[in-house]
């Protein structure tokens, strides 16, 4: 039970994923919602790499984890550009107040 195996990594990833979802759902600040998304992506990456080691799939899992990290970087850059624009327009980044498409 205490001997670390595949299940331990999967459980850590499940906890991380749930915390990420919790952050996305409860936070008002758009930047905090982005932090929740990063947690979810990290949880998925742990799963990919854990299965790459324990599932005998060669290096595919590690490659896909690498691609996920690249996509996360692109997503964070675009999302923050949008958040800056929203702040310029509405002077607020609370996602529950921004509910119309034009000024």
């Amino acid at each position: 039970m205490l001997q670390v195996g595949l299940t331990h990594f999967l459980v850590v990833s499940a906890i991380l994923f749930s915390f990420g979802i919790y952050g996305i759902v409860t936070r008002k600040n758009a930047v905090m919602v982005l932090m929740g998304i990063e947690l979810v992506l990290n949880a998925a990456n742990i799963n990919f790499i854990a299965f790459a080691k324990y599932g005998n799939f060669g290096f595919s899992g590690q490659m896909i984890a690498l691609f996920v990290i690249i996509l996360a970087a692109a997503e964070a850059a675009i999302a923050l550009a949008i958040v800056l624009n929203i702040y310029k327009t509405f002077l607020s980044v609370n996602v529950d107040e921004i509910d119309h498409l034009k000024e």
């Binding site: 299940t7 850590v12 499940a14 991380l16 749930s18 759902v25 742990i46 005998n56 691609f67 990290i69």
Partner: protein, 165 residues
Amino acid sequence: MDFYNIVFYLFALITVVSAAFVVTTKNVIHSAFFLLFTFFGVAGIYVLLGADFIAVVQIMVYVGGILILLLFGVMLTNKITDVEIRTGTIHLLPAAIGVGVFMGALIAVMVWTNWKSVPTEIPLTTTKTLGNLLITDYVLIFELLGILLLIALIGAASIARRDKE
């Protein structure tokens, strides 16, 4: 308990506890700093799984890039009068109950499923293998991601600098 297990539990503890702080502290700056510890913990877990190159990429991209970007986002979208930048929260209780149930179900699935588990011996350094794969089997994805990063760069710059007429 050998050394590997102790190190795993240490990194798992760092990751989970700091992730909990990320989503519960009110102060946005504190959340960003706890996110730093989460990323380091996850990088440690990658090393334990034999993915040393991914761990280094994780630290360079997440800590050196995304976290700094998030901090810039926090600084640029608040009228800074003091260090305390707070964030509001909405429907805490339903979210806590829902996510709690979801987490329980997810962990139950992870624990009780009979996963195929054949620990493969991963070589000590993976960089050369990953580099070879990147320009042979995955060359199309590699090129597409290069184009995607260029588009993201141009798009982010043009979205963020658009002036109102």
